[in-house]
């Protein structure tokens, strides 16, 4: 009898991987992705009405995930730090009338790939070595024939240029 998942667990099973990937695509590391995914489902077990339509449930979850990642980046922007109350009552996304709106979780990936193509060769190369091939700074410097310090400066400048090229993401 205890083996039959309840309504909430069915929601969890249906969405945990999707929510995780959505969040991971925006924060780029697993410890924070786990943290934010847990936050989303803590909010859900507390507030989500599991009797809503599946489309509404998905829309609700992804909007909470969207807000969670926006809050995460706010910490990096040094905006006023938000307490648990911030992510609490007013944090629940408004019900937008029930039109399901599941965010594609490859939006961020498409954007960065497009950005890479617009960068000068040296900038694109240093980012490819560091991010796609996961080379260390020392190895990147060796491959590119520059010093470690210059490799760090190059990757810094490349990211700055790319950030200037890119439109701010939605979270």
């Amino acid at each position: 009898m205890a083996t039959d998942p309840g309504p909430f667990e069915k929601v969890y099973d249906a969405h945990v991987v999707g929510i995780y990937r959505f969040v991971y695509a925006r924060v780029g590391n697993h410890p924070d992705a786990e943290d934010l995914t847990a936050q989303v489902f803590v909010r859900a077990v507390e507030q989500l009405d599991t009797e809503r339509e599946p489309g509404q449930i998905a829309a609700w979850l992804y909007r909470v995930a969207h807000n969670a990642t926006a809050d995460y980046w706010r910490a990096f922007y040094r905006l006023p730090v938000i307490g648990a109350d911030h992510v609490a009552p007013g944090w629940e996304p408004a019900d937008d009338g029930g039109r399901p709106r599941v965010e594609p979780d490859d939006r961020a990936a498409v954007r960065v790939q497009a950005l890479l193509r617009r960068l000068p060769d040296q900038y694109r190369r240093v980012l490819e070595l560091r991010f796609l091939e996961r080379q260390s700074v020392a190895e990147t410097a060796r491959i590119m024939g520059i010093t470690n310090g210059n490799a760090r400066v190059l990757q810094y400048r490349a990211l700055r240029r790319a950030a200037l090229l890119g439109e701010p993401t939605d979270g």
Binding site: Y20, H30, V42, A109, Q155, A163
Partner: protein
Amino acid sequence: MADDERRDEAARFDGYLEALLGEGRPSPESVADRDEAEMARLAAELAASAQAPAGTEPDPAFVEQLRRRMREADAGITAVRTPPPVRSQPAPAGTSRWRLSRRDVLRAGMGAAAGLAAGLVGITLRERSEDGEPLGGTAPLVAGEGYWAEVAAMDELPDGTAIRFSTAAFDGFVVNDGGTVRALSSVCTHVGCTLHFRPDWQDLRCTWHGASFDLAGRLASGRRAWRATGAYRGDASAYPIELPDLVRPRVKVENERVWVWTAQA
């Protein structure tokens, strides 16, 4: 020299990238301004897209662990909302036996929620709401029977140490904080993970997400508190939000023995 400055900022920002690309938890401390925050976000998205698709999957152990916690939370919430007949003793007139909202329970920690659902007695949540009122009022949250449980001897608990204890209804630590003995829940008020005592930091640390509580049960790794005091030596960036205090049961020391007020199971 401008070049030296550029080199310094590039080296500092590389701290963010090293953590990100090393599958660690990057810290906002490596990010100096809004421009660098945009760079950090771009780097995070780039790192994620480079891992797709297989590397973007959650660890199955994490998924199972979170599922168990959610199941317990869901059961605890249901139990609190629909109380089982724990004891035949009627609640005193004018008091509500079950007065926690779902939200209160979650903020108190899911482990605590399970304890409450099992009839936890005599524990007052320390958390205060916006207007300064303790959640659930100052009365014990649940009326009923409790007892003093002996959990440690004072000679086992010198200054600056903590001892883990477990009663049928409650898991926690007794700590000796400069001569003051306290009992604290061992359940993190974030998602209900178990805290661990770190003697070198004099804190209770959640290994799951890095929250850290001081020996009074207050969040010690909150950036606001850390910035305000400048005193905390822990990793303040690891948990950049606020959390409720740990639940603190009543404690007493008699005849060099430490007792904690706890519920009948």
